[in-house]
Symmetry: C2
Subunit: 379 residues, 2 copies
């Protein structure tokens, strides 16, 4: 089985598994317990937080809050900093459902929520954003890398616009598809919150993290025993946190980036070469995409059917994100100006540093064959 749906989730690395097992068995003690073995686990959790901060180029100041998922982390950033006095909140149309649906939930309660559109290249429309920003804006959430298209938003530019038009606004960035993949230096970006997911990086599912420049700006959205600086109660997910640490330690962002760029390029070239020349494959038109995600639309072919056919031939890819896979339509591709047939015919191929050249060569062949076969049937 060739797995090229790494933007949805990834298998855990062997050494991450070792820590997962170690901290679930011999080192399982509750990190809130006052005896030595408990306190040691508390300190071990802190060491993971320190590593996260190091990877983000910021000092550790009790500013990492572990959550039960990246979705919970984005919810904490948005709902945990929301105040009824907020006059305007700005989100991009391209946000992951964890941000987009949280924004919609606030909007349904009467909060003034505005959405900035995307450009054809998948990035936020910076001109529209600039028009939207003024001193009434209290909160902005714009993702770093689109989970659907791989488009990389210019977060530095967004920070600069925020500083210019609404310096007091809170700025959250969903870094789920970027962290550990695209070098991100938070010391150079004026972000208030940054969301991280463990399972996209060969860590465990069920673990997210929120970096908070100033945790005092947050209120908890889950109440209880007061763990995580009283911002996220619930027994710490010790084993997953320690497994994530190991997964993180293994990541060489720059080396992986170069490797994935090459794999992505090869996959795309192979796919184009092997696909029936009568078919015009539609790729996102942007020179600065994350190499980890390759979004392609095939006119007149249903992406869903293509995914099932690839599955039967040993290749796993997806229609858009797993989170929206079961939903109809695709607001993001619609916003990019894709017509109905390009939206229906969209699939996402996504890579990880576990992907091999063999996966890419065989995977692109299977995909092209399936496209050709479906094309023959439908024409």
């Amino acid at each position: 089985m060739i797995f090229l749906d790494n933007a949805s989730t990834t298998p855990m690395s062997k050494s991450a598994i070792e820590n997962l097992v170690k901290y679930s068995t011999e080192n399982f003690f509750n990190p809130s317990a006052i005896y030595g073995a408990g306190y040691q686990n508390f300190k071990d959790i802190e060491s993971t937080k320190k590593l996260l901060c190091q990877k983000l180029f910021v000092p550790f100041k009790n500013n990492i809050i572990f959550t039960g998922s990246a979705t919970e982390a984005t919810n904490l950033a948005i709902l945990g900093s929301f105040k009824p006095s907020f006059k305007k909140m700005v989100f991009s149309v391209g946000e992951h459902p964890s941000v987009y649906n949280t924004a919609l939930s606030l909007k349904s309660k009467g909060v003034n929520v505005e959405f900035v559109n995307l450009q054809k290249n998948g990035e936020v429309d910076y001109v529209e954003l600039e028009k939207m920003l003024d001193s009434s804006v209290n909160f902005i959430s714009i993702m770093q890398v689109s989970n659907e298209t791989g488009a990389i938003n210019d977060i530095a530019k967004i920070c600069q616009l925020k500083k210019q038009y609404c310096p007091n606004a809170i700025l959250h960035c969903d870094g789920v598809q970027a962290f550990g993949k695209i070098e991100t230096n938070l010391a150079k970006l004026d972000l208030d919150f940054y969301t991280i997911s463990a399972h996209k990086l060969h860590g465990p599912k069920g673990l997210g993290a929120l970096y908070a420049k100033n945790p005092n700006k947050l209120q908890p959205i889950i109440f209880g025993g007061g763990q995580e600086y009283n911002l996220r109660s619930g027994t710490e997910n010790l084993a997953s946190i320690m497994a994530f640490k190991t997964a993180l330690e293994e990541i060489d962002i720059q080396k992986n980036f170069e490797k994935i760029c090459a794999l992505n390029k090869t996959f795309k070239a192979n796919l184009i070469a092997k696909t029936n020349s009568k078919i015009t494959l539609k790729f996102v038109e942007n020179q600065n995409l994350s190499p980890y995600i390759l979004s392609v639309s095939i006119p007149k072919i249903k992406g869903e059917t293509l995914v099932y056919m690839c599955d039967s031939k040993g290749l796993l890819v997806s229609t858009g994100s797993a989170c929206s896979a079961k939903k109809s339509g695709n607001r993001i591709l619609e916003n990019l100006g894709y017509d109905k047939t390009l939206i229906e015919g969209n699939i996402r191929v996504s890579f990880s540093n576990f992907s091999t050249l063999e996966d890419i060569e065989n995977g692109s062949k299977i995909l092209a064959n399936c496209i050709n076969e479906l094309f023959e049937k439908t024409t």
Copy 2:
């Protein structure tokens, strides 16, 4: 090291670990993915939900919602069913912080929240509760087994009182210290919500579950991709859910209950026998306590000091719950009428089906020796 702090957390069982590893590596696929391997994982998660329902003696009707912790599950039950139109919400003073602090949070927002006191035996004061209940009550949350004292509340009686005085009220029960330990037949109890924790039963940390008689009565508190019937978004914590399944399968409630009753009895008898006869150990006065928890107070000795001393001699026990271990005071013991010295001198010894007679014999000896040593020093 003798571990008798099982009410705070437990080590994972060997076979639970096997599933944890399997579903983190070869079977890691996103349960929301539409291809076969993803869908299979979705069905596998459902099989865990079916097992949970079976253990609760209710049919599976998409009525189990997995969360990132039991704390999140209680929060979902309370905040997810809360409506601004609520006239009165009733909680017991003895609730775990995940319920108690959520109640306080609502109270701080002006919601009419009332707390029913405990009897000296640790159970809810049913007479006071009866007086508190009337048709204006919209929500009640009372735990099944106290995490501090082991007192078992009469949930059937509480259901009956609810039916009599406020039949339309929503009734939540925190079953964290009861599920898998004390036979609980939800078919015979008219509960709307029941909260479960995995890591108290040799399953993984970072996983809770909420049973909902009618999930339609809930609104999500975390928004996103729509997982868990749109009630708890975030990629499903597949490996932990499957590990919990195995942990559950291994549990023989009745057999374990009898074993733990015997161990608890032996521990208590040994402790009394070996403790300096000048010391009057104070136990919770109730014939119907959970055998998994033994709460004992030693006058004039600081529980915290005792925990550290036991730790240094190879025994791990706790002062109250891990969640409140770092807090001062103890609202539950105060409510039971304990004086300051009994509250300060309280420790909790807690067992699991992994506890052995050897643990109990050596553990009770260490505890008695530490008590005697501290007593000599302080008098």
